[in-house]
């Protein structure tokens, strides 16, 4: 079987660049091979920190290009166009043939069938593919012009045990690979892929990143098993680590038990985020004073193990030093230091932000009926931990540390929790804050971001959202919905805007509120799509939604979606469609609503009564609303409406009666539309 081997040997390429470039190489190769009529049987791209290796099988030795007649320019176009066309086909103009087609007379070129040897073609395709790579981040080195992820040292290229010769940038392809041995580097000739793999294996290098990952995973799991630990693997860490080594050596090491008294989050951050180790948690959810190192070398003298242990020791002792000092730092006294921390240019400092949150606590606690004093305290100290040494060492622990400091200083549990939980949710699948002080503060914090950035016109675009405002908005809506909260967001936006302006922020967007509400509704669409709600129902709800009650919007939409194809939904939709189709025919300017005096038939009166009952039911207090009941009310009008259409002739000769009946249907429809916009619903 034919076989192509290409290896790009470089200095260490970062994990995420490896992943991105592997994928690109695979796609580009497929494309470029196929435009040369080459269809490989298999195509794989592997990586280690220093190698990007392509292995392709099943290419023919010779590419056969069949004879063909290729349509060219139309007869009558300028001569230069014809000349160029002929040239592009390696023909003279006299060799072209004119042919009649349905679209007129065209030149045709007869191209002879030919055979190209695949190796010659590959010598063109490979450098072209390398040139096509679009690095997410790249660099130059020495005095070369090439841009690559990290300095590219050599390109090995072999097809069917034959060396492929081509140039790429300043490099010439070679028939050897590079092997590093500590501070030495050697060139070693390679015959084929098997030979290459054997060579790497002899040197304990696992080329295939997936196999490397599996190998590491197996080792870690067996350690977890042996120590009766939970087998929860940090997948992104595993991927990163397996791209940081090529000859993995999994080592278990320990740290002093006394550090287990530190908050668990600090230890986890130290070990996982900073040092790329795996932590061990036993089945009772206790952290062990052990960790797993994935080294890239044998540890014959046990220097690697003890070295890493000393680093952990130093880091934990550092963290311990900061913890002991910071935990007694008075959170309230730290607030002033936040004046030095930028929130965002033109939006003042984080201190200004906490002041806004504190003032807003007053309004939202009123709306949500929660403890105002507690929320004010939580808002005031919510960002104080940002100026602690611990958070400047472990930025990912913002909030978490504040919570520990607060508990340590005797703040109440719910206030302390709010300091960490107001950052939730951190992602689309992360949990939301569930406790009143926490969710109120979370809502304020996110709304503060939204109002602030909209105020200075730093709005997200379709491709860019540098301040993660979409995430803020979705988090805000999820927090409202999942906690069943009725919030007057519109008022909160006004208050926030006022406070921002009082603090001297320059207003650059006068449409802020309108735009922000639209932005929130758009995000609501995402949330509803995630819930697998039919698109037309989403459209129907969103377009009828004019107030700022997102909980209502959410509940109504879900109810509509649940019942749309059941009796309840079908009846409502068909009733609406029947009434609205008559209104559409008439195209009348209606305004005043029906006049009860003009009702002649019992059925008219009955329908009007029903409508009034519904309208009344729709205006009851939010907390007591039951949207299934509402839909049922709408659905139940079917009976009265059917009777109405059966007994009453809308198109009465008396114009007043006719108009009054149309008014009745109009009010029926508009009542439906206050629920959701029924005109946007498909079918019945």
């Amino acid at each position: 079987m034919s076989e192509l081997l290409v290896e790009l040997f470089s200095e260490e390429i970062p994990s995420n660049l490896q992943i991105h470039t592997r994928q690109q190489l695979e796609n580009l190769l497929k494309q470029n091979l196929s435009s040369s009529n080459l269809k490989p049987k298999s195509l794989e791209v592997f990586s280690t920190p220093t190698r990007l290796t392509i292995h392709i099988t099943g290419l023919p030795k010779i590419i056969k290009i069949p004879a063909a007649e290729i349509k060219g320019p139309k007869v009558g176009v300028p001569e230069s166009v014809i000349d160029n066309y002929a040239k592009s086909k390696n023909l003279n103009v006299s060799d072209l043939q004119k042919k009649d087609t349905e679209k007129g007379i065209f030149y045709f070129a007869k191209v002879k069938g030919k055979e190209i040897s695949t190796d010659k073609e590959l010598e063109k395709i490979i450098p072209q593919t390398l040139k096509d790579i679009n690095w997410k981040k790249s660099m130059k080195w020495s005095d070369f012009e090439l841009n690559w992820g990290r300095p590219l040292i050599s390109i090995l290229a072999i097809f069917n045990e034959k060396f492929l010769k081509f140039n790429f940038a300043h490099l010439e392809s070679v028939n050897f690979t590079m092997l590093e041995n500590n501070d030495q580097i050697k060139q070693i000739k390679v015959k084929n892929f098997n030979d290459y793999l054997n060579l790497l294996e002899q040197n304990e290098i696992i080329l295939d990143h997936n196999k490397r990952k599996e190998y590491i995973l197996k080792k870690i799991v067996s350690i977890y098993k042996k120590k009766s630990c939970k087998e929860i693997i940090n997948q992104s860490l595993l991927t990163e680590v397996s791209n940081l080594v090529d000859k993995p050596n999994v080592i278990t090491a320990t740290f002093d038990k006394s550090y287990l008294e530190l908050p668990k989050e600090i230890i986890k951050s130290t070990l996982q985020t900073h040092q790329r180790y795996f932590t061990l948690i036993d089945i009772k959810d206790r952290m062990l004073n052990e960790f797993i190192i994935v080294a890239n070398n044998k540890d014959e003298k046990k220097l690697i193990k003890t070295g890493n242990e000393r680093v952990v020791e130093a880091r934990l002792s550092d963290a311990n030093f900061f913890w002991n000092r910071d935990k007694s730092f008075n959170l309230i006294k730290q607030i002033n230091k936040l004046k030095k921390v930028v929130f965002y240019e033109n939006l003042g400092s984080v201190y200004d932000k906490t002041q806004r949150l504190r003032k807003m606590a007053y309004f939202i606690s009123d709306q949500l009926n929660i403890n105002k004093e507690k929320l004010e305290i939580a808002a005031s100290v919510s960002k104080s931990d940002l100026v602690s040494d611990l958070v400047s060492e472990f930025p990912e622990l913002q909030g978490e540390m504040g919570k520990y400091f607060a508990l340590n200083q005797g703040f109440e549990q719910d206030v302390s929790n709010a300091i960490s939980e107001h950052y939730l949710p951190t992602g689309n699948s992360s949990s939301i804050p569930k406790k009143p002080i926490s969710y109120s503060l979370s809502i304020l914090d996110k709304l503060d971001n939204l109002v602030g950035f909209y105020l200075i016109n730093e709005k997200p675009t379709s491709s860019k959202d540098p301040f993660a405002l979409r995430r803020s908005a979705i988090g805000l809506l999820r927090t409202i919905i999942e906690n069943n909260l009725v919030i007057k967001i519109s008022d909160l936006i006004d208050y926030f805007t006022r406070i921002y302006l009082e603090q001297g922020v320059q207003e650059k967007n006068t449409q802020l509120k309108k735009e922000l509400m639209t932005f929130l509704r758009e995000r609501m669409k995402n949330i509803l799509k995630e819930k697998k709600v039919r698109t037309d129902i989403i459209e129907a709800s969103i377009s009828s939604h004019t107030n700022d009650n997102f909980l209502e919007l959410y509940k109504k939409t879900l109810i509509m979606n649940k019942f749309i194809s059941k009796e309840l939904g079908k009846n409502a939709v068909s009733t609406y469609k029947r009434a609205s189709s008559i209104l559409e025919q008439e195209k009348l300017e209606l305004k005043n609503g029906p006049d009860a005096v003009l009702f002649k038939e019992e059925e008219e009166k009955e329908l009007f009564e029903r409508i009034n009952i519904i309208r009344k039911a729709f205006t009851i207090k939010e907390e007591r609303k039951n949207y299934e009941e509402h839909l049922k009310l709408l659905s139940d009008t079917k009976l009265s409406t059917d009777k109405f259409f059966e007994k009453v002739k809308v198109n009465d000769d008396n114009n007043d009666l006719k108009n009054n009946r149309l008014e009745l249907l109009q009010i029926l429809c508009s009542t439906f539309n206050t629920f959701v916009d029924f005109s946007k619903l498909e079918g019945s």
Binding site: M139, S142, D143, Y277, N296, E313, D318, V342, E345
Partner: protein, 294 residues
């Protein structure tokens, strides 16, 4: 007086590490320079790196650079942090093909034999807003400990580098803690006569922390910043790149002190950084034209 210790240690002292690195890089062909005689935040600020990394002329140099970061002061109470520390800096232009192996060999010269350790190149891209500089590279880890910054400069003083220099920055205190197995910076053995880091720098850390955080006269500093800035600009007009760059360094250090005194407000911060960057850019571009003319 501490009892005199026999120099039968099986590791290198602080000064051994400096000597050995100097010897190693001298053999490689570097010009061994002495520290720059102005306060700087890192070895990169030495004109032998900042300015020499610009322009077409090849350059190889190595030197120790005492570096000051006023906000990192901890009154000598933190075992891992200092407001004044040492970097060993190597700068080579253009970056040589086998620089990785050359670097790994330099580690053997200070007692770190690659065969016995886990030496890793972990992504770390570098940027200096005050110098208008950026580079790509790694932090080099030895058994989980960061011992060197390894950077290919892409931009310096706002100017694209061509050819590209490679910069190696060894953290001398960290390396010594590693090879001497010390948990506290102040316990590092400075020489074979029993002198420790503490004996040389403890008092200085205490006093300078106090100066940096509490006593530096901010009124003078603010005035000095203005003076340095205007002097730099007037020297730039006279096309004197090196004296102008000195004033830029002064402005930069004064800014760091002001920052550590806590008198620079959020809104002002970016402004100061931009002002320093302008001085660096001016110095860099005049230096560059002097390099191309000759």
């Amino acid at each position: 007086m501490p009892e005199k210790i026999k120099n039968k240690k099986n590791f290198f002292t602080f000064q051994d590490v400096v000597f050995n690195l100097q010897k190693y890089w001298s053999k490689y062909g570097c010009v061994i320079l002495q520290p720059y005689d102005l306060e700087v935040g890192a070895g990169t600020f030495h004109p032998a790196t900042t300015l020499r990394s610009l322009g077409p002329k090849p350059w190889k140099a190595a030197y120790v650079q005492p570096s000051r970061r006023p906000t990192d002061g901890r009154y000598g109470k933190n075992p891992n942090r200092l407001q004044h520390y040492y970097q060993f800096q190597v700068i080579i232009k253009p970056s040589p093909k086998n620089i990785k192996q050359i670097y790994l060999k330099s580690l053997s010269a200070i007692g770190i034999v690659a065969k016995d350790h886990d030496i890793r190149f972990v992504e770390d891209d570098w940027e200096s807003p005050t110098l208008g500089a950026a580079g790509l590279g790694w932090e080099v880890w030895c058994d989980g400990m960061e011992i060197t910054q390894f950077t290919y400069f892409q931009k310096m003083t706002g100017i694209e580098c061509k050819p590209i220099s490679v910069e190696l920055t060894y953290g001398l205190e960290r390396i010594c803690m590693f090879i001497q197995q010390k948990k506290n910076i102040f316990d590092i053995e400075w020489n074979n006569e029993g002198v420790k880091y503490k004996d040389v720098y403890f008092q200085s850390e205490k006093e300078f922390s106090s100066y940096n955080f509490d006593h530096a006269n901010t009124e003078f500093l603010l005035k000095n910043f203005e003076i340095a800035e205007s002097e730099c600009k007037s020297l730039l007009d006279k096309k004197l790149s090196l004296p102008a760059y000195d004033q830029c360094l002064k402005a930069s250090h004064i800014f760091n002190l002001l920052d550590s005194r806590g008198v620079i407000s959020v809104a002002e911060r970016t402004g100061y950084i931009n002002r320093i960057r302008e001085l660096a850019k001016g110095s860099g571009s005049i230096w560059l034209s002097s390099q191309i003319e000759k």
